[in-house]
């Protein structure tokens, strides 16, 4: 059976990110307010132009040149599409970093979200101690991006690390995980999954929004716990799942610090942790090929934009907004 949901007039639509009043055009602008608006906006506008837009254009231009930081501007050579050609046809390490990044995101992100949702479901009952658990689980998300934690992580999966001693309890022979090209990236995935706290907190907030009448109605209809999860929880939670999925995917693509620490900035062992951003850093700041690095950055930007568009266009088919605002 399908459970229909009643539109709830007390809640405004999730995700309608528009400043009020743009709904009905800007309306009459009070005398002097237009100027005041731009006065208050000016720091942001300067930042947008100087720190975001201009660098983007500069980087687009540089991606068609052979610029390295050492040549004077007058001698920079326009090379057309050579950088892009090199990337797609004659740079195996670029393809390799794409593969590493994709496999990292495709494995770590779903597992992280599954862990976050699972733990959120466990915590989703009003009882004493929820706040404490919620806080403890959130802690790794606060520490996770730091160099210090990456150092600990790498040492934990060393030959003499804590993980191998844990395996030894069960008589399993460990290996130097971080030095093994087949396993180094997996240790970074485990680090990402360990930081399930941030999406978990967002899931918990979403679970609180599910009206209890729906569960009661499902009980009356004789649905068991599993049916309720599939037919009530998942559809009602789909906007939150979508939000977390987009956010975590984009974050996953940008993994840098842990890969840098594990490989001491090389992407090793045998390029197994050469995340895209790490490859970009090495190209731009170690090899000083800034023209080529700019081309890599633009491809990265377009890829992220495409993925976001794909998410939003396929989201229509499975994301369910209970206030009838299906977009």
């Amino acid at each position: 059976m399908a459970l229909t949901t009643a539109p709830d007039p007390t809640r405004r639509g999730t995700g309608s990110v528009r400043p009020d009043a743009t709904r009905r055009g800007t309306g009459r602008i009070r005398h002097g307010e237009g100027l005041a608006g731009y006065v208050f906006l000016s720091p942001w506008l300067i930042g947008l132009m100087a720190i975001t837009a201009m660098p983007m254009l500069l980087s687009l231009y540089l991606s068609f040149t052979n610029y390295d930081i050492l040549t004077p501007w007058s001698e920079v050579e326009w090379v057309g599409l050579a950088n892009y050609e090199r990337m797609f046809t004659s740079d195996p390490s670029w393809w390799h970093s794409v593969r590493v990044t994709l496999s990292f995101a495709l494995i770590a992100v779903p597992l992280k979200l599954a862990a976050a949702l699972g733990v959120a479901l466990l915590l989703n009952r009003a009882w004493r101690g929820v706040g404490l658990f919620r806080g403890l689980f959130y802690l790794p998300s606060l520490l996770g991006g730091s160099v210090a934690l990456a150092i600990v992580w790498v040492n934990m999966f060393n030959r003499e690390g804590a993980f191998n001693s844990f395996l030894a309890l069960f008589g399993i022979e460990g290996k130097p995980w971080v030095n093994d090209p087949d396993w180094a990236l997996e240790t970074l995935m485990v680090l990402a999954i360990w930081q399930f706290g941030a999406p978990m907190v967002i899931f918990l907030a979403g679970l609180k929004q599910v009206p209890t009448e729906l569960y009661e109605a499902a009980s009356v209809d004789g649905a068991g716990a599993f049916r309720k999860f599939v037919n009530v929880t998942l559809p009602m939670l789909s906007p939150v799942i979508f939000f977390n999925l987009v956010l975590e995917t984009i974050n996953g693509f940008q993994g840098f610090t842990a890969a840098f620490v594990l490989s001491n900035g090389t992407g090793g062992p045998v390029d197994s942790t050469l995340m895209y951003t790490l490859n970009l850093y090495i190209t731009g700041f170690t090899d000083l090929e800034m023209g080529y690095a700019s081309a890599m950055a633009w491809v990265f930007l377009i890829a992220i934009a495409l993925i976001t568009v794909v998410f939003f266009s396929t989201g229509r088919f499975w994301v369910h907004y209970s206030d009838g605002e299906d977009r």
Binding site: T4, T14, V17, P19, T26, G27, G32, E33, L35, A36, G37, Y38, F40, L41, P43, W44, L45, L48, I51, M56, V119, L122, L123, W127, F133, G135, Y138, L139, L142, L143, G145, S146, V147, A148, I151, V152, W153, N155, N164, W194, I202, K208, T212, L214, E216, A217, S219, V220, V246, I250, F256, V261, G265, T277, G284, M290, A297, F300, L301, I304
Partner: protein, 294 residues
Amino acid sequence: MVASTVAPPVATRPQRPRSRSWLRLIVLLAIVAVVLYPLIWMIGTSFKSQQEIVNNIGLLPETFTPGNYTNGWTNFDVGFGRFFFNSAMVSLLTVVGNGVSCLLAAYAFARLKFRLRGMWFAVMIGTLLLPGHVLIVPQYILFRSLGLVGGDWPYLPLLIPQFLATEAFFVFLMVQFMRSIPRELDEAARIDGANAFGIFRHVILPLSRPALVTTAIFSFIWTWNDFFRQLVFLSSLSDYTVPVALTLFIDSTSQSAVGPMFAMSVLSLLPVFVFFVAFQRMLVEGINTSGLKG
């Protein structure tokens, strides 16, 4: 339309609540163990002697060795005190920059009317998803051509963007918050003769304190932990921040560096721990206001 039947509360369903909640608690405690283990192991290892680090992989040291902390503190020519000072300065100035500039921008978006507001707002939301790594090369080139990289005060490239509200996340968070401030207050102030600046000063600013505090805490923690930008823009040892300095330990492959390395790693996470203990609730709530209503 689901009619709310007179179904009694869920607890009367035939089930075994006692054993259920025990099972739940056991599972949760197991997850807590997995979550906390690396952190406890890190602290334990930081007090182990060099010999123990190789031989004893247990959680706690057998012989308590605080010497790692003094060794680590003075490990590099400059000393870790300097790195901590640099990190604290960058983080605190970032907090000020984000607080001021994002609040001004958020007020314009949330309360003022001006031409192209909708378009600028859409652009701001667009920059939320813009990866910082994409802009790092051209930003480096621009700051370098202005003589700001490795200049007299090498932190300008790290701080200038923060004073220009480029952290869209905080702008968005504050806009969301300001929309919950009743507009009647603005109107009342306007009747009393306040203009846009007066309303900002006497109505919005005092009431936005919670959003400012959330921004300040996240801003501090993220900058304190940030590595990528600091790695790119800081080049001389005495300018290093803590995360960049920690990577020096990785270069020295000698076993003797592991204890001090762990000790300094623990110290570097201390401020985050302190913030976490003091503001745990606020941090968890803060991440929630970031785009999800309710």
